[in-house]
Amino acid sequence: MSINLLQFLRRRTGSAPVARERLQILLAHERGLRSQPDLLGILREEILAVVSRHIELDPDKVVVRMDRGSSVSTLEVDIEIPNGVDKRLAAAS
């Protein structure tokens, strides 16, 4: 299913790439809700607890997400650390 150059150039003008982007974001979210709603909640709480022992965190800034792929799935953990703390981290290490 190779895409030739002409098709590629034409596709850039179409709306399909936008559709694809939107779907990927939406489905990552919906799959997260679907696959054992509690597992992600538990992970989030425990990660928050561990990290909070060392760094002061805003609980709302900890995001745990699951994404299903064809051969592997990924668990994405996104923690926003307030400014200043990262300096302390660097100094400690």
Partner: protein, 272 residues
């Protein structure tokens, strides 16, 4: 051993019934003993697409409730010896179909056929879950369009959690069938590409069925498209899909916009 195959999608109007009839007939043409079962209680259509609407006497619910025997409800196709239909009823009472009733009918059909193909109703409610409940394999039908792909994703989640196979820790074997694929719109980048859909849904591709007038023509005369015009593009794509289901390796035909050169136009040739 018999295989129970559900044709499902979540979204309505994507081509489940068309695909059930076309693939069922293609398998029967290859000598397999096939029954197509209409699970769309209240909105039955498979009988019309198969051209058997005037021969329906008893239906799925009659059998489930013990009013009729399975052999009384099964309708043999007029064109193919080994193709049968079990129609849905037109009753409005969807609760008339119980899980136990469906289980017993499917178990009975397994002893009589090579393929039991269940045409699912749209939605994610009871009707759709009953149609997939006892499946070994699933064809997830989708169109190259966002809402259809989203629903397909949801159905895949249900196949992985709400089927007897899934509950036993096994997997329903899933295939995606992309239907109503419009080559012109694909070339202009107006439709999700095949690669996009496969990447998003992450299940193997069973076939790509082009958008085609031949499908409408076949439904008008009550004949599965694979029987009505076997040489047409959708019929060939469906036949290839049926062969893949039986385990054959068949090169994937990606419907392309007919590119017509000067000589072709002069000679009135059409690209294949």
């Amino acid at each position: 051993m018999a295989k129970v195959l559900v044709v499902t999608s979540g979204k309505g109007g994507v081509g489940k019934t068309t695909s059930t009839a076309a693939i069922g007939a293609a398998l029967a043409q290859r000598g397999e003993k096939v029954v197509v079962v209409d699970f769309d209680v209240g909105l039955r259509n498979l009988d019309l697409i198969m051209g058997a609407e005037r021969r329906v006497v008893f239906d799925l619910i009659n059998v489930a409730q013990g009013v009729a025997k399975l052999s009384q409800a099964l309708i043999r196709d007029k064109r193919l010896e080994s193709l049968w239909l079990l129609p849905a009823s037109q009753t409005r009472d969807k609760d008339a179909l119980t899980e136990e009733g469906v289980r017993d009918i499917i178990a009975d059909l397994r002893t009589k056929f090579d393929w039991v193909i269940c045409d699912s109703p749209a939605g994610i409610e009871r009707g759709a879950t009953l149609a997939m409940r006892y499946a070994d394999e699933a064809i997830v039908v989708t169109n190259p369009e966002v809402s259809s792909v989203r629903d397909a994703d949801r159905i895949i989640g249900m196949l992985d959690s709400k089927t007897v196979k899934a509950e036993a820790g096994e997997q329903v074997k899933k295939h995606v069938l992309i239907t109503r694929y419009d080559t012109g719109r694909a070339a202009r980048g107006e439709m999700l590409s095949i690669d996009d859909i496969l990447e998003i849904l992450a299940i193997p591709l069973l076939g790509i069925i082009p958008e085609s007038q031949d499908v409408l023509r076949a439904s008008n005369v009550g004949s599965p498209v694979t029987l009505n015009d076997a040489a047409s593009m959708p019929a060939r794509a469906y036949s290839d899909a049926a062969r893949r289901l039986t385990g054959e390796t068949v090169a994937m035909m990606v419907p392309a916009e007919p590119r017509r050169g000067f000589m072709d136009r002069l000679l009135g040739r059409r690209a294949a």
